[in-house]
Every structure is written in C-alpha cells, then in structure tokens.
C-alpha cells in the first residue's frame, strides 16, 4: 500500500508515525513544503526569544527518526491531485502515485489587501524562514509596526520585545484576541501588554505602506503616519487548499470530511487545519486550527488509511496563549450558549480571571487569564459532556472550585 501524506506539520508527522505502527509493510511518503526536518510553528516564539535554537523547533529530535521508521521525506509542493489516476502532481510536473492520500497542508498567513504589502520589510511571522528574517532585522531600537493581535500576533510579542524593539500593534476591532477571549479577558491582556511597554491602537488598520529612504511609512485612516523599520502582518490564517481545484474533492471552508476523516473521494483523507469536521459541541462543521486537533485527526485518519476503522467523534475549539508571560486559555462556547448561565471571577490587579459558561448543568465554555493550573480539566468537562449536578451552583458561587467540580462530577470521588 502506497500512502502519500501532503504536509509535514504535526498532523502529517503523527499520521506517518501511526501508519508505520499500523502497517509495517506500507510505503509512506511525507511531502514537506519547506526545506529541513519537519518543525513546529508553535515553537517559533521561543526561537525568537532565543530560548531555543532551530533544532529545538523540530517536531522529532532524533535525526534518524524518519529513516528508522522508513518514512520517506520528500521536499516538494503538491501542485494538483488527480483523484481518478490517484496521483499527486509535484512541482516540475512529476507524478507521485498513491493508494491512500492524506491532505494535511495546514494554513498560511492571510494576506492583507493594502497597497505596499509586497514591499521589502513587510513580513509575516509563520515559517522558520520568516523567523530568521525577523531575527536578522529586529535589533534594539528597531521600530516594528504589527498588524493584528490574534493568537499569532500575541504569542510572538515576547520574542520581539526580548530583542529590545519598539513595538506598536494595530488592532482592527476594539479587542485583542477577540476570537478566543471575551471583552474582560481581552481587556486584561491589553492592559498587561501596555504595562510592558507595547503601544496598542485599537479600531485601527493601515490604508497603505510606502517605503521612504530605507524605512517604511504606515498610513492610518485618520491621516497619521507611523514610521517603521519592519511591518509584521498577523491578520489570521487561511487553509492551503488551492492546489485541489478541479480535483473533485469537496471543499467548503475546508475539506469536508466524514467521521473517518475521509473526503467525498474514496481513499482521500484530510487532517488538521484543512479538515472541516464536525464540532462535538455545536454539531456544525468547522475548521479547527489547533495543535491537539491536528495530531488527533492525523492519528485517526492514518488508522483508517491503514484499514483500521477509527471514528473521529468530533472536537471543539480550545487554545492556550501566552502573551508576554501572561497565560490565558479559551474553551468552546466561551461567548455563552443561548439560554445558558455563566459565572465569573475577576481580580484585575493580579491579572486573574475566570469565565465559565453553562448549558443546563454542563460546562460548555470558559476563558481563563492568569490561571494555568489543571486547565486540561476544562477540556475533560466540556468534551465529556459531564453533568455537573449540584456542582453547577457551587461553581456559579465560586468558579475557582473547578477541579473539585471535575473530580466530583467526572470521577465521582466526592
């Protein structure tokens, strides 16, 4: 059986490893879009900080890991998929045949549609190559204007500031990380960043960028011009799907997959940021571009590719973020379920906050700021659809009793 995996991020690498365990005789080819060993984008912020070297970003540390598992790494971009002939067209036009195909091509930074976005000095912070460029250019006193304060925009700030730069963040909406955090949590993160010396301009987006004598000028809607040595664009990500045009693989926001993570085309699977699977809370299909989802989908897709039936029971969106040392997390329906109830506790001076959202007597969502102990239990409670019983009222009175509620309701130990 010839297995081809397009994409060497966490989903692709876990899929390749799972395939090897499940099918010792299989041919496994892992297409890598970038040079060098597969690496974790999640580790790039720590490379920027100087905490690790590039080797520290590698998904697997043993140099012989892929060779030992007979996983063939091929550096190539997939240009097209012919689902009739079962081939992947690589750059240069060569054809790679497959029996089972996994598409795990991940995301890429969204491109801002403004004049000057192609100028030298304008960068995303997404790949190792981007990180090398930023490390080369960001020096003490370097003036950086960053558009966007979502997950990526926030998580890279510490690395940037550690290099002694002058940092201004532009935020289109009124709130940082507004797709993860409610206004209270977002406000705490903003206050924390400003206290650390970052300038945050909300309701602001650039009209265009021009180059003047080696520096950039960022024009704002109100007529102000921000000078910048470096402009970082971090306005979100889009799934890498263009190469599938005309393949017959059904695409909505992502590749539409069933409970086996198979697409509408037999033998073609998807995992990670590109897979549009069912959300176990809402029952709706959605993209879920988070690390735990990527690896779990990679594992389950691979089991199915190897002929072992495995069902993906759905996931939900949750994430953890560190912004200049301030930990925060987001789970599920943190905005609240219709007709549901909520509880919160705020200690603004210590940057601590909990927001719990309930539907009936189940936890369906949460935000945390400055609170990192046992946060996995939020996942356990939400994904397990655990009935809280009397503990719901106790949590409404004291949200910090979350572990007691989890142990009592999920493990019946109290």
């Amino acid at each position: 059986m010839r297995h081809v995996i397009i994409g060497s991020g966490p989903a692709g690498v876990v899929a390749a490893e799972t395939l090897r365990k499940a099918d010792p005789a299989a041919e496994i080819t892992l297409l890598c879009g970038e040079a060098g060993p597969p690496y974790a984008r999640m580790a790039i912020p720590y490379l920027l900080k100087g905490q690790i070297d590039e080797g520290g970003t590698h998904l697997r540390k043993d140099a012989d890991h892929y060779g030992r598992l007979r996983i063939q790494l091929v550096q190539a971009h997939a240009q097209a998929v012919d689902t009739g002939a079962r081939t992947v067209t690589l750059g240069g036009g060569s054809l790679l045949p497959y029996d089972r195909l996994l598409i795990a091509t991940g995301s890429r930074p969204s491109l801002e549609q403004i004049p000057g976005i192609g100028l030298p000095g304008v960068h995303a912070c997404w790949t190792l190559a981007d990180a090398r460029t930023i490390l080369a250019k960001a020096k003490p006193g370097t003036c950086i204007v960053q558009m966007g304060a979502g997950f990526v925009g926030c998580i890279i700030m510490e690395g940037l500031l550690s290099r002694g730069v002058d940092l201004t963040i532009l935020v289109r909406s009124g709130y940082m990380v507004r797709r993860m955090m409610n206004p209270t949590a977002s406000g705490l993160i903003r206050k924390w960043c400003e206290a650390k010396g970052v300038r945050i301009l909300t309701h602001t987006q650039p009209q265009g960028i021009t180059a003047e004598g080696g520096a950039l000028q960022v024009a704002l809607a109100d007529g102000h011009i921000l000078p910048a040595d470096l402009y970082l664009s971090a306005v979100g990500v889009d799934p890498n799907l263009e190469f599938l045009a005309g393949s017959g693989i059904a695409i909505g926001k992502g590749i539409l997959v069933d409970a086996n993570l198979q697409s509408n085309v037999s033998g073609v699977y998807a995992a990670g940021d590109v897979a549009e699977a069912t959300d176990c809370l809402t029952g709706r299909r959605q993209l879920n571009a988070i690390q735990p989802n990527a690896v779990e989908q990679g594992r389950i897709a691979a089991l199915n590719m190897a002929g072992r039936s495995a069902r993906f029971k759905g996931s939900f969106v949750f994430n953890v973020l560190t912004t200049l040392g301030l930990a925060s997390s987001s789970f599920g329906e943190w905005q609240g379920a219709s007709g549901g109830e909520s509880a919160e506790v705020l200690d603004a001076s210590r940057y601590r906050y909990l927001n719990l959202q309930f539907e009936d007597d189940r936890l369906v969502g949460a935000n945390t700021v400055g609170f990192s102990d046992h946060i996995g239990a939020f996942r356990g409670l939400i994904e397990g659809r655990v009935r809280l019983g009397k503990w719901k009222q106790r949590l409404r009175e004291d949200p910090t009793q979350i572990m007691q509620a989890y142990l009592a309701a999920a493990h019946s130990v109290a």
Binding site: T18, R60, I300, S372, F378
Partner: protein, 159 residues
C-alpha cells in the same frame, strides 16, 4: 509487571505530606504549590482527594507536544517531561483532559508525575495513612479511569 499509583480518598486526611515530598523531590522546596500530586479539599463533604497523572495509554500530552519533549520511560511506564526540550508552550496542559500536566512559572516548563523514576514515588513513601500506594498496575483504578477516558477519547483504538 509495571506499577501504578493507587490513590484512595477514603484514607486521605489532607495532611499534604505527599505534596511536600513531591515538591522536595522535584524542586528541593517544601512549597506545596509546586507539587505534581495535589490533594483537593471538599469542605462540604469533609473529604480530601489526592490526584495526579495516571500515565494513561492514550497520553494526549505526548501526542500533542509540538517539540517531542514528553517521552515514555520504558522502565516505569511513566510519561516524562524532558525539561531541556520543553519550550513551555502549554499545549499539553489543554490537551490532557485530566488536568494533570501543569505549567510551572518559575521554571518556564511544564511538569507532571514521573513516578520518581527507579527509586519509586516519594509521595507514596511519605503518605502516613496508606492513601497512596504503589501497586501492580492491574490492581489500581486505572481501568476505571480509562473507561472514563474512553468517553472523551476521539477513538479508543490504539496501535
């Protein structure tokens, strides 16, 4: 036969000797906040519940780690954090549905129970009431935990 920690809330008095032993073992400090085993107090019920990682087979933390910093100790079956490799991204802390792998601000790394390697769990030795015992894996409530894990697991099949 691999061994597991067996935690019995019925015998726990909440003395926190286990937390102190763990903090001392791993941080050379008696700061119980740094312990990898935690005793949760239930004041309404007058009950104390010791709780730590069950070294589950599924090992969400191992799968989710983006930098391969959580490995299996083949001698004990524990999943252990390689501190020099951990970058402190905390992805494992949200992936583990048991909430038993945690970030430690003072080290900038995550930590979890590693069963104390070849010399056996310090918490078990410190427990004066037998609420914490280190026994053959089949004797523990591991099966019960795994059964519960199956409800949240995306797929019980393992390879």
């Amino acid at each position: 036969m691999q061994k597991s920690l067996h935690l019995d809330p019925n015998k726990c008095t909440g003395c926190l000797q286990c937390e102190m032993a763990c903090a001392w073992e791993n941080h050379r400090s008696f700061t119980t906040a740094k312990s990898r085993i935690k005793v949760f107090a239930f004041h309404h019920e007058g009950r104390f519940v010791p709780y730590t990682c069950t070294q589950c087979d599924e090992a969400w933390c191992v799968l989710a780690c983006p930098v391969d910093a959580i490995r299996l100790d083949p001698a004990t079956g524990a999943k252990i954090v390689l501190e020099p490799t951990c970058v402190g991204c905390k992805v494992c802390t949200i992936a583990c549905p048991f909430g038993t792998i945690n970030y430690v601000a003072s080290t900038g790394k995550v930590q979890k129970c590693d069963l104390c390697g070849d010399h056996g769990p310090a918490c078990e030795k410190a427990c004066p009431t037998g609420a914490i015992t280190y026994v053959d894996a089949d004797w523990t409530g591991l099966g019960k935990m795994r059964q519960w894990a199956g409800k949240t697991d995306t797929n019980p099949a393992t390879v």
